[in-house]
Every structure is written in C-alpha cells, then in structure tokens.
Symmetry: C2
Subunit: 344 residues, 2 copies
Amino acid sequence: MNVMNRPGESANRSLEDMMLAAVEGDRLALARMLTMVERGGDSSAEVARVSYRSKQRGQTVGITGAPGAGKSTLVEKLISVAREGGKSQVAVIAVDPTSPFSGGAILGDRIRMQSHAGDKGVFIRSMASRGHLGGLSIAVPEAMRLLEAAGMDPVIVETVGVGQVEIEVASATDTTVVVLNPGWGDAIQANKAGILEIADILVVNKADRPGAKDAVRDLQQMLDMAFSLGIHPRAMTKSTGASQEMWRPPVLETVASTGEGIPELWSAVENHRVYLEESGEGTLRRRKRAERSIALVLEAEMAKQLERIRSGHMYVSLVDATESGHSDPYEAAEKLMREADSGR
Amino acid sequence: MNVMNRPGESANRSLEDMMLAAVEGDRLALARMLTMVERGGDSSAEVARVSYRSKQRGQTVGITGAPGAGKSTLVEKLISVAREGGKSQVAVIAVDPTSPFSGGAILGDRIRMQSHAGDKGVFIRSMASRGHLGGLSIAVPEAMRLLEAAGMDPVIVETVGVGQVEIEVASATDTTVVVLNPGWGDAIQANKAGILEIADILVVNKADRPGAKDAVRDLQQMLDMAFSLGIHPRAMTKSTGASQEMWRPPVLETVASTGEGIPELWSAVENHRVYLEESGEGTLRRRKRAERSIALVLEAEMAKQLERIRSGHMYVSLVDATESGHSDPYEAAEKLMREADSGR
C-alpha cells in the first residue's frame, strides 16, 4: 500500500495513514517515519505530532555499558527469551553517537543480530547523529515513542559506549540495564562514570571469567553504601510518598554467548515493569521524559533564534561599535534582539 | 568624595562620575564598580555602558598554567619589573572559578603579593564566580575593560588552574602567557589541554630544577611541528594578509622565586604589544573579544527567556498533555513560546 503523496491529502493526513499502516505491521511505513525522525526539524516534528498522540505504550529498556561488554550478544539473546515469553513485537534501537552514519562497529553488531532476520516479530534499527538539531538526545526518545505507538513492546535501546550522550539516552527509558564485565576496577570505573546511578538492573556479563564473584560483591557493596547513605537516586523514591517498597537494583550474572542467566535478566526486566506500574514511578519517569523532550525542543529553538540574531544586518557594525568604544555588549545585544524581533 | 546617590541624578550619571573618580585614582570608586561587575545582571550592564565607551586602552595579559606552577610569584615579580620600567598603573585580576568567594588558595596568594601593598601604582583584585549570569566568562572581560578605562596598563589576569573557563578567560587577552614547570610530561599535558595553542609566550618556570632544558626543547619541537604543519593558530596570521612577520611564541626560562628571567619575560610581553599593534592582530583580537562579549550576553538572555518560558502558567499542563498523549514536545514548546511572547 503506497500511502505517501496520495493526491488531495495533506502531509499530516498521510502521516496518520502511515502510522495506521505501521500499527498494522507495515515495516516500510515504520522505517520511513524513523528516517523522518532522524532527519530532525520539521520532519521529526510532523512524526511527533502523530506518534505522541498514541495511547499505545510499551516498556522501554535501555542497555548501556563499556564497548566490548557484550551488550549486542546480550540483546540478541534477550530478544529470543522475550519472544519465547510471548512478546509479539520487539524493537531494538542501536545508538552510535560517534558515527556519522550507521556503519562500522554497529554494522558488525547488526550482522550478528541476523539470527532474528527471519523473525517478523523483531524490528532492529541503527541510529546515528546525522544532523538532528539537538542530536540523539531528541531523536532517540522520539524514535522510542514512535515504536511504542506502532505497537512495539519492549522497545530496547542499546548504546555503544558510556559517553554523556549514551548515558542520557539509555537512562531516558523505563528500565535501564547497565552491563559490566568481571575484572578489577570495572565497577569502580562504572561508579565514576555515573552509570551505577542510572542502573535499575546491573549485569555482570561474561560471568564465566575469573573475577565475576568479586565484581558482583563490589557492586553489592557500592549499592549497600549508596542506599544506607541515601545517596542512591532510587533510595529517594520513599520520600516521594510511594507506598511501594523501594526498588533495589538486582546484580545479575550472565554469559550472553551461551545464554546463561538471560531468562533471569528478562524476569528482572518484567519485575521492574511491575514495580514501575505499582509504585507510580513509571508515570513519574514518563512525565520527566516529556519535560526533557519539551526542554530540548525549546533549546533547539533558542539556538536557532541566536543564529538568526547573529546573522542580522546590524551585527558586524555593532561588533565594531563595541570594539571601538561606541557601544557596549549589553546595548549591542539589545539592539540585535530588537532587530530580530521586528524581523519575525 | 561621595559620588553615589547624589539627589537629582540618574544612576548612569553617577556611574559616569564614579568612572571619572576612578580615572583620577579613586580606588574605592573603582572597587565599587568592580563589585557591580561581579554582581552581574543590570548592575554589570550599567558599568559596561560607561567602561566600554572609554577610548583608554591598556595591554591585557593573561597568565595561565597548572596550579603550583608558580604563577603568583611570577606575577608578583613581573609587577616589580613593570613598575621599574615606568608603568604607573598596574592591575591584577586573580581568577578562581572553583571558589564561590575570594578566599582559600587565592587568599594565600594575595598575602604573598603584599610586597606591593604599599605601592599606590598597583591594584590587585580577586574574582570568583558568585552569581554572575554567564559566569566569569562575562565578568572577567568586563572587569578588564573597566580597569583599562580607569587607566590601568597592563591589566594582568592570573588564573588558578587550567580548566575550560580559565583557558577561555586567560586567552581573551591581548597577550597570553602559559607557565609550565620542568618535569616529564608537563609539556605534553599542556598540549593535550590545549593551552599551547593559546600561548603567545611560553614560560618554563622553576628553571633551576632538573629537566628545564628538556622542557624547553620539547616545547620548541612542538612549536616547530605546529608551525611547519600550519596548525598553530598563530601560523594562520599570514593568510589574513598582514604584512608583518608571524609571531612565534618565545620559550623563556624563569626562576620566579629569585626573579631570574623576569626582565626577559617583561621584554617579551612588551615586544608582543608592539607586534599586535604593527600587525593589526591587536585590533582583530579586540574585535573577536567584542563579538564574544555580545554572544555571551545574548546567551544569558536566551537562558533567561528559557527560564521564563518554563515558569509559564501552561507549563505543567503541557508536560502532562505530552506525557498522556494529548500533545507533543513540538506543539507544547510552540505554545509555551507563544505564551511567553504575549506576556512580554
């Protein structure tokens, strides 16, 4: 069914059609909408107008950790367990902020995921940061919402590294899984990078290697300390008045290559979903995410406005005047803003 | 002379009086105006309206380098040499972005500078980042301009560390001096931190310690490489069409504690002033600085606007609507901006 460019229809109308098609399983329609989200600007705004109005929700699951921790294999096995457990539509967004296009390491990972290539119930998409104003921080949440609207559940977001963007993206989900490996210092490094704070579930992958028990013990100790001091973000749930017990991130051992521990990980993900619903924390998180999405759009608008101001006709002469003692930065800024205002 | 709050005069009028008083040597008036600059907002805007309109200019000299490199002692000795060389009004701004008030390490440094305490020709002021919107990046250039307007020459800006703010502040001067110490890796560290790029003059202080010659050689080699590859920012001066020879940062050895090498450092500072004037580079830099000052005021305005938008009456309900599927981030942002616009 070709739903694009049908004569006599507005762009929005045809996006609603595309959305309906996507819900009915049209993967091409879904892929096109994701491309629009990636493109950013008006294009992603149009998609957002449709996808954010859907009542359809799925559990979003962020999976983050250092490169080489085995996240892709883990995700691959997690998909299998979720599918066997009855999940009919599973989506994965693989995020690589460093790559200008979807390729490189990501491509290698995607090829490994081909074990799901023949499965109509699995949708996998790589996202890189090409040109979206506000970058992946805007694009990924919008893509998540679109996939939820299309009926995907869970929507898994896998990030490549542990940079600032990755942490932001992975933690803007319902459930955040942090993947570590055995080995001295890994837990401490993770703590430094601030990724323990965002974890709802901690996984020591490659747990058949030496040092796995030590890593689990280190992580448990760090959690003990954070909780007893009340500095763990989750430890603050109590003060919000939720009647529910606090969620303490479980520390799980997996061997993704053999599938060991993956069913337990999937159970933990499902338990966390129940916790989110029953404690009200899920709504709080979604509200925070909505707030963040609006803030990012506003910031992008401000950046555009700044650009417009600085490209005004008076700009060069006002810089000169400030340099030569005929104006000052405040007066110059004021005049530039007035010029931009009157030009709108 | 009490020039403030004289009845029948506008605030601006009395600031002009204060400026006149400061030029005539009234240190209390100058100190008051600096406090206004530090306070930020309207207060600093008022000072800027007066100080930026002065035609009086002095050479601004930034001195940066790792903590413990001996910058304070070096500045102390440099003041003496400048005073002996006939400079009648020397100012020092000591910048500490980490401290919420002027104290701590800075205070210790100031005490050491007491050798100039009885000298009316030396004005020393510490600046920390208390509350100035846009922070020290706005406040320090404004303080520099004020001190220039008051007849200070040179205006030395000494920073405590080599963080992003310090580098920005120290490099927003006519002449930037980077102070290093002998010792393996120091030059390489400096290169990594990007402070070699901003240096007009390189100083290996504590040159009586082992490794001084190696440090000088390392720095010279790095400069050779940067210049031959054309990647040193100064190496680009030629392409701007200036007829003048390029400025190659000299690498000097000093022992600040004994005063060794300080006269040579002062000569280099004076040579650089001549270079700036004759090559036209000085005007270019001042123009760039004016541009940056305007941009910072604009950015601060945008931040205020964002704050205003987010404190609008519709904010909470629009976040809720976005969360619950009745709006989307783009529509919500649009409505919030419209609300803020109509409220102006």
